[in-house]
């Protein structure tokens, strides 16, 4: 008995060591970002002697960091709201109606998982240019919604089936219209799925690189990933600046993750199960 328990304790300790090794690269980058360049080159694993935010100040100044944060947050919030609105409504009707048409539409949404983004990337830029929505934040949001939504449609679709239809029938008898029934009865019951979708979409929107890369151009319309890319490419030898830049890009999302990890991981699992 004791041998098994000791073995499993040793196993756990080994797992923790492995886990710490796993996150070490991120920790090292955060730690080294407050060190001067010389210290980074000489002793990357050592604790900072005199932590300084000088490099951060430089990066914020030369990349328009706060504009990028504002843009990225705006994109995230707007796309989340639109995705939730459209995909829940769509999944609800598809799930309740059943039938051939709904099945065909669902299959159409499945194609989003089979067609890689790069296959539509170039024509998409042509299209958005022709529509006059290129290089604009609203244009980006509008294009983002149909790219993120199919996954959410599948998540909501499975979830809707767990809601007893009697509730909607009762509401209809009481005189509620279709939209009223959906928003007041069904949508609140979808909140576990909505919670997961919010945090997952937040992650995707913050970290998206290729879509902003092809759709945004002017300096006022930069996202976090775009300024990180631009800055790091020019400063790859100035590790002090480069690491500060990378930390500025990822600290917000890591903090978000640590607060929301339960919902994020739950969202990942739910998405996989329903997918």
């Amino acid at each position: 008995m004791t041998t098994t328990r000791r073995a499993s304790l040793v196993g756990r300790i080994l797992l923790f060591l492995l886990a710490i090794l796993f996150v070490m690269p991120v920790a090292i980058v955060f730690m080294d970002s407050v060190k001067p360049l010389g210290a980074i080159l000489r002793n990357p694993l050592g604790l900072p002697l005199k932590p300084s935010l000088r490099a951060y100040a430089y990066v914020i100044d030369s990349t328009g960091y706060f504009t990028a944060v504002a843009n990225t947050l705006c994109i995230a919030v707007c796309s989340i709201v639109l995705v939730i609105l459209f995909s829940s409504a769509c999944a609800y009707k598809l799930s309740r109606s059943g039938g051939k048409l709904s099945w065909v539409i669902l299959m159409l949404f499945t194609s989003s998982m089979l067609i890689p983004f790069q296959t539509i990337m170039l024509p998409l830029t042509k299209l958005t240019r022709a529509l006059g929505i290129v290089d604009s934040i609203p244009g980006l949001i509008l294009t983002m919604v149909p790219l993120y939504a199919p996954f959410c449609v599948f998540m909501y679709h499975g979830f809707v089936k767990t809601i007893p239809i009697e509730l909607e029938e009762a509401a209809t008898i009481d005189g509620s219209g279709p939209f009223g029934t959906f928003f007041r009865i069904v949508f609140p019951l979808l909140s576990p799925a909505t919670g997961s979708i919010v945090v997952l979409n937040a992650l995707w929107a913050w970290n998206d690189f290729s879509l902003p890369l092809v759709l945004l151009q002017s300096a006022a319309n930069k996202t976090i990933t775009l300024i990180t890319f631009g800055f790091f490419s020019s400063y790859s030898m100035r590790w002090d600046y480069a690491l500060a830049c990378v930390s500025l890009a990822s600290l917000p999302i890591v903090v978000f993750y640590l607060f929301m990890q339960r919902y994020i991981i739950k969202g990942v699992v739910d998405g996989a199960v329903k997918g």
Partner: protein
């Protein structure tokens, strides 16, 4: 009778209008920004065109012939295939092992999950930059300080090592995600099935392969699907870690499409490459899904 038909006709119309109101906004956006570009790309693949000027000429399948005879393109395809194979195998094997280890009773399972999942929440672009620092600066410094000189390789400058580095970073990011799904799959298996298998004499490896894995097939299907499709979409990480280099030895098909279209201004060739990527992803995914779906067992 007459009133009845008129009422039911307007009710059907109302139902159809409701359906449209709920479904068509998203469907419309999806068709416009996803399906339409797909077909646009199909038409571009048959053109010689720089993507901007109004002059374009129809060349039929010439673009496809030209890329399939281009040794640079073929090595891009070969790199992508090797990357996908290594990444999928490494990610899934490690993730499954970790999930099995975490499934045992023990303290701190949630903390372990949080730690292993963390690399997944950073953008792939940033992950590449982080590892550029580690592999170009931190690790060589550490190697010299500790005397472990085998760590001081040209991890990103040598073509073979660069492939390995790309696989390693991609797996580093995906392992947590994949592990979490395997863990959920493991936890959904009825304990009594595992116990009765143990009573019947199945232990260790035998239990794993004959009982646990078949019962976990749904999560294996999902994980294989996700890791395969993500591998072929390698773009962000490719940009930040190696930028396709040295030369073009670690260029992924996805990044190649971007460069061909925006760098070389060759919309026709780029679109042809985009179609080939789609066909490849489609074929591999369909084969993988049929293979694993057939093996899904009900407990």
């Amino acid at each position: 009778m007459h009133n009845h038909t008129r009422q039911s006709r307007s009710r059907v119309a109302a139902r159809r209008a409701q359906y449209a109101a709920f479904v068509f906004p998203l469907l419309g956006l999806y068709v416009l920004f996803f399906i339409v570009p797909f077909f646009m790309g199909l038409s571009y693949a048959g053109l010689r065109w720089d993507g901007i000027s109004p002059e374009r000429s129809f060349v039929g399948f010439a673009n496809f012939v030209s890329i399939l005879n281009d040794p640079d393109y073929l090595s891009t395809v070969w790199f992508t295939l090797r990357f996908a194979a290594f990444n999928v195998i490494l990610t899934n094997v490690v993730a499954l092992a970790l999930a099995l280890a975490l499934d045992r009773p023990g303290r701190g399972t949630n903390a372990l999950r949080v730690l292993f999942f963390l690399p997944n929440v950073i953008s792939a672009l940033v992950a590449g930059f982080i590892w550029t620092f580690i592999l170009r600066s931190a690790l060589p410094t550490l190697a010299e300080a500790t005397g472990l000189l085998f760590l001081k390789q040209n991890w990103l400058g040598d073509p073979t090592l660069a492939l390995g580095s790309t696989v390693m970073v991609a797996s580093w990011q995906s392992i947590g995600y994949t592990m979490v799904i395997y863990l959920a799959g493991l936890q959904s298996i009825d304990r009594s099935v595992l116990e009765s298998a143990a009573i019947d004499g199945a232990t260790g490896w035998k239990k794993l392969t004959s009982v646990t894995v078949p019962l976990m097939m749904p999560s294996i299907t999902v994980n294989l699907f996700m890791t395969v499709s993500q591998s072929f979409r390698l773009f962000d990480l490719n940009t930040s870690l190696t930028s396709g280099g040295p030369g073009k030895s670690t260029l992924s098909m996805a990044l190649d499409i971007y460069r061909e279209g925006f760098g070389n201004n060759n919309m026709g060739l780029a679109s042809a490459k985009a179609i080939v990527l789609f066909i490849l992803v489609f074929a591999v995914t369909i084969i993988q899904l049929r293979f694993t779906k057939r093996r899904e067992v009900q407990a």
